[in-house]
Structures are given as C-alpha cells and as structure tokens.
C-alpha cells in the first residue's frame, strides 16, 4: 500500500486528507501517479487538472515527475506553498 496525502485546495477537491491505496501495475513514478489519479473520480480529476499547480513530496522530500513511487511510500500532493 502507498499512503497518499492531500493538502490545501487539493484536499477540498479529493474530499480526503489521506488514504492508503494499492498502486496498479505500471505506476512506478510520480508522473505515472499523477496520470493515474484523475481516473479515480471527478474530485481527483478536478484536483489534478492543472499539473503546473501541483507539487509532490515522496517521503517528505520534494519529488519530480520521473522520481520513483512504490508500496510503503508516503506521497503528498499539494499546491505551491504560501507560508511565511
């Protein structure tokens, strides 16, 4: 299982802050994950419709499209940060 976390307005769209999912075969990178998630429902499609507004962290480290994701990982999806 892979742990998925959603923050800020992504969470409003997905309707969940965190979930455990079984990644389908063939989902091996951050890019694969971002391409697959919208197929899980309208809320996910809405949350991810503009990839330029999505940031991803794998195991609490910023990750890029080609970085690997696997069972046991914690993957967080969120908008560009606005703290400070």
């Amino acid at each position: 299982m892979t742990r998925l976390l959603y923050f800020a307005w992504l969470k409003s769209h997905t309707g969940t802050a965190e979930e455990e999912v079984e990644l389908p075969a063939g989902i091996a990178t951050v890019g694969d994950l971002l391409a697959w998630l919208p197929s899980r429902g309208a809320g996910f499609a809405k949350a991810l419709e503009d990839p330029s507004r999505i940031r991803v962290a794998v195991n609490q480290e910023y990750a890029r499209s080609g970085d690997p994701v696997a069972a046991g990982d914690e993957v967080a999806l969120f908008p560009p940060v606005t703290g400070g």
Partner: protein, 165 residues
C-alpha cells in the same frame, strides 16, 4: 540553531533576548516577523487595493515542515558564520495583527546576520509546506496563491551562494 512549529503565539522580545543571551560574541541581531494584515494584496499593491480580511488560517504538513525548516536553517548556518539562529512558524487560525512567523540570526558581524535573516525568510516562503487560506469579512475562505516574486526572491540565493562580509 532552533526551529519551532506551533499553534500558539510567541513573545518577540523574549525570543530575541534568548537568542543572544550570554553570548558576548554577538555583535548583530537581525530579525523578521511576518504578521497577518487586515487586507489581501495578491499583486503586491498598496493596502487600499485589497479585500478586507477577518482572519488567516495556516495549514501545514507536520513532519515535512520541521524537516524543511531545519534544512533551511542548517543551510543558513553553512553559508554564514552565525552565533545563533531561530525559526518559529505558527499554524492554525490567526487574526490581523497576530505574528505568523519569526526568523532571527545573531552573528559577530552585522552583514552576516542581516543576510542570513533575509535568506531564511526567502527560502522558507518557497520551501516550507505551509498553505494560507484567507477568510474575508463575510466569512468566505480563499486559498492564497503563490507569488512569482517569492520564487524570484528565493532564486537570488542560488546565484549568490555566499555574500561578502
């Protein structure tokens, strides 16, 4: 070196006093406090240009937040010779006038303290996983958009790894 992520407010005077207390090598103490304003200002316009705000709520990613703040602080201590540094960042709901964040650096030399302080807030703004939602006077909530100017401010430090003292 110290990083704190907390819901409660903080006493600025006490935090700054603690930073240099008992360390007679400190010649300069620079600090920056970010506060909640009573208006939003997406384009960096004047106060008159924005919408009235009743409050601001900060959400964050517990675990990653501390990790990123500690890394940013360690980087500042790598780039400048600091006697002490501090980052305090709040989360939760805050009203106008309340402090959101404090960064402070103490050094033997003023330039190191000032530059490191600017570096901390610039990097924190683009690296630490916090998100602000503004609450208008009508109770409406709206997620704050990231600003290109913050990215540009952070990018300066990539070109200038260590400034002259």
């Amino acid at each position: 070196m110290s990083v704190r992520v907390q819901r409660e407010s903080f006493d600025l005077g006490r935090e700054l006093a603690a930073l240099s207390a008992g360390n007679l090598a400190v010649g300069g103490l620079a600090s920056f406090v970010g506060l909640v304003r009573d208006f939003d200002d997406p384009a960096g316009r004047s106060p008159q240009g924005g919408t009235a705000l009743a409050a601001m709520t900060l959400e964050h990613y517990p675990g990653m937040t501390e990790k990123m703040l500690e890394r940013i602080e360690a980087e500042a201590n790598r780039r400048w010779e600091l006697e002490a540094s501090l980052i305090v960042h709040r989360y939760g709901r805050m009203e106008p006038g309340e402090p959101i964040v404090l960064v402070a650096c103490a050094s033997a030399h003023r330039q190191a303290a000032l530059e490191a302080c600017q570096f901390l807030i610039d990097w924190l703004k683009t690296q630490a996983p916090f998100w602000k939602v503004e609450e208008t006077a009508e109770g409406e909530g709206r997620w704050v958009e990231a600003r290109d100017s913050d990215e540009a401010a952070a990018a300066r430090w990539l070109q200038k790894p260590k400034a002259a003292e």
